[in-house]
């Protein structure tokens, strides 16, 4: 009862704060602007949020804003979604992936060296995926060679979110080729200003460039920046990937729910509000979006009560990705031909801008990144439904 009261109080407090502080008209202000302006807006929003303590609720007690229970974090995320506040996409990797990895697997020295920087707005990126290691991440080839008290890095990473702005990188490299793929990986912390690092942004189909390729040419990293043991990188990477603990999908599914009104507005705008076919499709999408919210919610409640089962997170992500596709597809259908004549894009807008082709294309971020739908289906079928694994070996038998 008392904890319920305390989350109720927190909810009121966060709601009131957001009402005061969410930058009015940020969506319009971020439409068709260059990346520098977006960068500045993100920096301002991060400063505000962290000053209020809402940027780091998942950090341990003793840190500014830290020591919040998962239930309280959930409240903050729900309110952020409700207020349609900008997402902190520039800082997300730093605040979640980097911070949680450091807290769970980093040494005391590493924590003292890097965590204050994250609080001060240092930007981190994640160097995991490679051109030939996406779904099969463990096959990655970027090499780290030990020489004295340094590692020498050579290779290439890709799909690294905001790498072109990052100060530091969470880098997963190969130090050993002899054993199974997972065994030879090592986790390093890299200063992006090191000599030999070059970053090339990837221009996306939406007009945005949130991702980049990173090239390493004899880049030096001190052994002080090794996280965990050499060869233990796969386990450290799992800590990174588990860091946001379902909160993102609670927030995103709630955002999608609040954005259902965009569908109604689109119908009103072009006079299709009474179209019986569209109305039925709207009813279907509403039920599915509510299903996505309920599933994300249930997952977080399971985590809070330590009842999570293997595959639960995959169910949430797969269903969200599919509901988002259905939502944006219906938007395109309602907008019709007119929807195809507005190529403007919005930075940091997630996938609910009301520019339906843009939102539709952005929905693929959620069915591809962070473990594609197909990978989630493998996890669900093999680990949850206990269906046998695909045979591992494969031999090319025919001509092409």
């Amino acid at each position: 009862m008392s904890s319920e009261n305390s989350t109720d109080l927190l909810r009121q407090e966060v709601r009131a704060w957001l009402q005061e502080n969410v930058p009015a008209g940020w969506r319009e202000a971020m439409t068709n602007v260059d990346q520098e302006l977006f960068f500045e807006a993100q920096r301002d929003w991060f400063k505000k949020l962290s000053a209020a303590g809402y940027a780091t609720p998942h950090w341990p007690e003793g840190w500014p804003g830290g020591g919040r229970s998962l239930a309280e974090q959930k409240v903050i995320y729900e309110e952020v979604a409700r207020a349609d506040a900008p997402r902190l996409i520039l800082y997300f990797v730093a605040l979640y992936h980097a911070a949680c990895t450091l807290m769970e697997c980093g040494s005391k020295e590493q924590q003292e060296k890097y965590l204050p920087g994250i609080l001060n707005g240092e930007i981190w990126c994640q160097g995991f995926s490679e051109p030939n290691a996406g779904s099969d991440l463990a096959s990655l080839k970027t090499k780290a060679e030990r020489r004295g008290d340094k590692y020498i890095i050579n290779g290439q990473k890709t799909w690294s979110t905001m790498a072109q702005y990052a100060d530091r990188c969470l880098l997963l490299c190969r130090t050993d080729n002899s054993g199974p793929p997972q065994a030879g990986l090592t986790y390093l912390l890299l200063d992006m200003k090191s000599p030999g690092v070059s970053v090339v942004p990837i221009h996306q189909i939406t007009g945005d460039d949130e991702f980049a390729e990173i090239f390493f040419d004899d880049v030096e990293v001190s052994v002080d920046d090794l996280v965990g043991e050499e060869g233990n990188g796969w386990a450290v990477a799992q800590a990174t990937l588990a860091s946001e603990r379902g909160l993102t999908l609670v927030e995103l599914s709630q955002r999608m729910r609040y954005s259902l009104s965009f569908l109604a507005e689109a119908m009103q705008a072009n006079g299709t509000s009474e179209d019986p076919v569209l109305r039925r499709e709207l009813g279907n999408v509403i039920a599915r979006v509510d299903g996505a919210c309920a599933l994300a919610d249930q997952y977080l409640l399971k985590r809070i009560s330590h009842q999570e089962q293997v595959g639960d997170a995959s169910l949430v992500k797969l269903y969200y990705a599919q509901a988002l596709r259905a939502y944006t597809t219906l938007g395109r259908k309602i907008a019709g031909l007119d929807g195809m004549f507005d190529p403007g894009f919005m930075r940091g807008a997630t996938q609910e801008t009301g520019n339906w082709p843009l939102d539709f294309m952005n929905s693929y971020n959620w069915s591809i990144a962070g473990g594609s739908n197909e990978i989630q289906r493998n996890i669900i079928s093999e680990r949850m439904l206990k269906m046998p694994r695909e045979p591992k070996s494969w031999k090319w038998e025919g001509g092409r």
């Binding site: 039920a287 249930q298 289906r377």
Partner: protein
């Protein structure tokens, strides 16, 4: 779900596992009466367990898993109507319906009924469709078109005619019932009746959602066993990604519909029949029965040839799912959901 309900679910699952698929009407009915399942939602002050809609849904889910032929849902609706009524002899009537094995049944779909008179001298005219196991019922629960009257009608009067309508779904025996000036007793009239009808239809949506999800889960489990046991090309079928990804897709649909149902039951806080609860019930029923159909359609394909054989139960789930999509309020659930949503937006 609280601990007590969880325990009740475990024991219900055990009971139903012994009942076979489909669980036969007579034996299942006898068993559920004996086990007090019809008392679960009755308030404690009326000697029930006071577990409300959560318990009814849980039991509907377990019965749905085994394609139960017993008219649990209509019986529960009649009991709920009686509980909400102000009838003087309601304790006595309740005892008969909950523990005496007496059945009061109801329509699982639409009705077209007018009522005149009041109290225990009502006259009812019209037609009810999809009334389950009407030939075994001593009473019928009836509500009028204008929702101004909810009544119990004795089934054995000459003015009540029940005609069996054999259908594709053999796990529920449905009847068309005609009322030709039948005598009835009012359970509620006027505004009270209106609220009661909303409550009953809302409960019906939630329980149907649960029945559908019980069936969908059981059929997916059965299909995965088949895929795991059957070997072709020297591999279990279940190891083929082309097949197991489809099972994963069905699992995720079921999981979301279940989460929506459970979340809805939690959020309505016992306020069945409120606008919010009705909206949630529509969404839960729609998503669950659409999911059931999708699961059944896919599982028939995934079962291959054996799915087309009547000895294998896949078709029974398919037929029950197809019927369930059409049961409930008549008209389109999707359209109703959209309308309620648009109405909320304009407030």
């Amino acid at each position: 779900m609280n601990e007590f309900l969880k325990e009740l679910q475990d024991s219900a699952r055990q009971v139903m596992e012994g009942a076979g698929t489909p669980a036969k009407e007579e034996s299942t009915w006898g068993q559920l009466v004996e086990l007090g399942w019809l008392l679960t939602a009755v308030p404690e002050e009326l000697d029930g367990l006071g577990l409300g809609a959560d318990a009814l849904c849980m039991l509907s889910g377990e019965l749905g898993r085994n394609l139960s032929e017993a008219p649990f849902l209509p019986a529960a609706l009649a009991i709920e109507a009686l509980v909400q009524s102000g009838l003087e002899n309601k304790a006595e009537l309740l005892a008969g319906l909950t523990m005496g094995g007496e059945l009061a049944t109801a329509s699982l779909a639409g009705s077209d009924v007018t009522a005149s008179g009041s109290g225990d001298s009502l006259t009812l005219n019209g037609k009810l469709v999809a009334v389950q196991s009407a030939d075994n019922a001593s009473q019928l629960l009836v509500w009028s078109n204008d929702s101004q009257c909810v009544a119990l009608v004795a089934a054995d009067q000459a003015a009540v005619e029940a005609v069996s309508r054999p259908g594709w779904d053999v796990t529920r025996r449905l009847f068309d019932v005609t009322l030709n000036g039948a005598a009835g007793v009012a359970l509620a009239q006027g505004a009270e009746a209106e609220a009661l009808v909303a409550r009953l239809l809302n409960l019906r949506d939630f329980a149907m959602a649960a029945d559908s999800l019980g069936g969908a889960n059981a059929l997916l489990e059965l299909t995965i066993v088949h895929l795991t046991d059957r070997v072709q090309f020297a591999r279990p079928l279940a190891s083929f990604q082309a097949l197991k990804h489809r099972c994963a897709d069905l699992k995720v649909e079921i999981a979301a519909a279940e989460a929506l149902l459970n979340d809805s039951l939690l959020k309505i806080e016992g306020q069945l029949g409120s606008d919010d609860a009705v909206f949630r019930g529509k969404k839960a029923k729609y998503l669950a029965s659409a999911t059931y159909s999708k699961v059944a359609e896919e599982c028939l394909q995934l079962s291959g040839g054996i799915g087309m054989a009547s000895e294998y139960p896949c078709h029974l789930y398919l037929k029950r799912s197809m019927l369930s999509e059409h049961l409930g309020s008549q008209g389109s659930y999707e359209a109703d959901i959209a309308e309620a949503f648009l109405r909320q937006l304009s407030i």
